[in-house]
């Protein structure tokens, strides 16, 4: 039987870090060329271009801008913006365009000079605008503060301490140690997390991802790729609130989003061999893993401390180091998880390749304050 696509035929990922000198368009183009080369596709063969927003430029037409720059002449071009979930939302849209028969070759790209293209203060103020303009932002909240509120409620509900979230930061750093191109690679301990600078308690500096420069891209095709095939088996989304003031803390949207993607793939959480879950903060990945069902409520920190999410554990998670250590350059940050899962499914991860033959991967991202959710299930053919 010939398996159906859509296929993730090409991936591209640049190093992340503070890397001055490239513009938004440069980062997107570098990643796009890598993904096109990986897929063996020329820019003129692309019939849809989907590009993510960038906070440093805010161009009105990012997909047209990138298409012109690359020399693509697509029939379809969308700029997209759903916060940190944008990258996976573009992959989901690409899969839908292909399933609908509207495109054969879709380029998905994002990149940003988020670290070196603006000051930290400007970046923090811009990102805080995911809060409500009149009723939340004037209180003085920032994105770390919004997530700190979620962490406060989570720790109180489960009778846990801030140190119970720290093992996520430690595990992501341990993974990044083996990854060229990661923003941070020096090992850290739970004690290091607990003695790092207070940002918005209970979150400390090492509970928070860095701000990086970089880019990522995918080529999604209707036809099978030339060599190792990874197909998109299911996608799901959920968008249930924008502002933390109106979030349903028992149903942020992750469970229904993941359930939709898994159902479409004919899979359950126990079928997943490798995962990439958004980890903008330690609390983010804890809440997502528990709501999706990869860990019992209140137990994800204990699971990561016990090695469950290690490269050699039962469910290898963010084996590239995640946002917490590979880094976070905006939309492309949430795409790096999928690049890594595809690389592992292709058994092309070299020294950091997970053991066994991973066949089914799951990737999830959120945007805002657990506001937008997208899940993608991928299978090695």
């Amino acid at each position: 039987m010939r398996l159906r696509g859509p296929w993730l035929a090409g991936v591209g990922l640049t190093p992340f870090g503070r890397q001055p000198g490239r513009s938004v368009l440069d980062w997107q183009a570098v990643a796009a060329h890598d993904a096109l080369d990986d897929a063996g596709v020329a820019p003129r063969q692309v019939d849809a271009v989907l590009a993510g927003y960038a906070t440093t430029t805010g161009h009105l037409m990012p997909a047209d801008l990138l298409a012109e720059h690359l020399g693509a002449r697509p029939d379809i071009a969308y700029g997209m913006s759903v916060g940190g979930a944008t990258g996976l939302a573009m992959v989901a849209a690409a899969a839908r365009l292909i399933e609908a028969g509207d495109a054969e070759v879709v380029l998905v790209a994002a990149g940003e000079d988020r670290a070196s293209g603006q000051s930290t203060d400007t970046s923090t103020r811009t990102l805080a605008q995911v809060g409500h303009r009149e009723h939340e932002v004037p209180v003085g909240a920032t994105v770390p503060a919004y997530y700190a509120l979620l962490a406060s409620r989570y720790l109180a509900e489960h009778g846990l301490e801030p140190a119970d979230l720290a093992p996520f930061a430690v595990q992501m750093r341990a993974h990044a140690a083996a990854v060229d191109g990661a923003h941070f690679r020096s090992p850290i301990t739970v004690a290091d997390v607990g003695s790092s600078a207070r940002i918005a308690e209970p979150l400390r500096l090492l509970d928070c991802c860095p701000v990086s420069d970089g880019g990522a891209a995918f080529v999604v095709t209707a036809g099978p790729p030339r060599d190792v095939g990874v197909r998109i088996a299911g996608v799901g989304e959920a968008h249930r609130h924008q502002h933390v003031s109106e979030a349903d803390f028992d149903d942020f949207g992750a469970r229904r989003c993941a359930g939709q993607a898994l159902d479409r793939a004919g899979r359950g959480v126990s079928d997943i061999d490798i995962a990439g879950v958004y980890d903008s903060f330690t609390i983010t990945v804890a809440l997502l893993l528990e709501e999706i069902g990869f860990s019992a409520p209140g137990r994800s920190g204990a699971d990561v401390a016990a090695g469950r999410f290690d490269r050699a554990g039962a469910l290898p998670l963010n084996t590239h180091g995640g946002l917490l250590s590979y880094g976070h350059c905006g939309v492309a940050g949430g795409m790096a998880h999928l690049v890594e899962v595809v690389t592992q499914l292709r058994r092309a991860a070299g020294g950091r390749q997970v053991a066994g033959r991973p066949r089914t991967g799951f990737v999830h991202a959120d945007g805002g304050v657990l506001s937008s959710h997208v899940s993608v299930v991928v299978e090695a053919a």
Partner: protein
């Protein structure tokens, strides 16, 4: 009925005249049933802390007092959730009341 964002020192929530749903962030129509018959009501400002953070890093040029300062989410007695500032000694579960000394909602423990 104006609220603290419009210069009047009070918390105002909305209630749908058709389905009874209540909410805080203002809209012209009910987000549950879309009815446009919506009442604005004054809250007592009394409630329970759901979550709290002490902010130590805040950007220059933002809306905030000198660091460190507290931010909390409070479930009001009227069953709507509000974000405000607070002292740094609050914990989830504390009973609090509101004032507007900073020009924004500020919650503190009730005596």
């Amino acid at each position: 009925m104006r609220d603290w964002t419009q210069g009047v020192a009070q918390l105002v929530y909305q209630q749908c005249a058709r389905c009874g749903h209540r909410w805080y962030l203002p809209r012209p129509a009910c987000p549950r049933c879309a009815a446009t018959a919506v009442e604005r009501r004054r809250s007592t400002g009394i409630g329970t802390v759901v979550a709290v953070t002490t902010v130590h890093r805040a950007p220059a040029g933002g809306h905030h007092p000198p660091t460190p300062f507290g931010i909390c989410l409070v479930e009001l007695a009227e069953a709507v959730r509000v974000m405000g500032r607070c002292p740094t000694d609050l914990a989830p579960g504390d009973r609090v009341g509101v004032d507007f000394r900073d020009g924004v909602p500020r919650f503190a423990k009730r005596a």
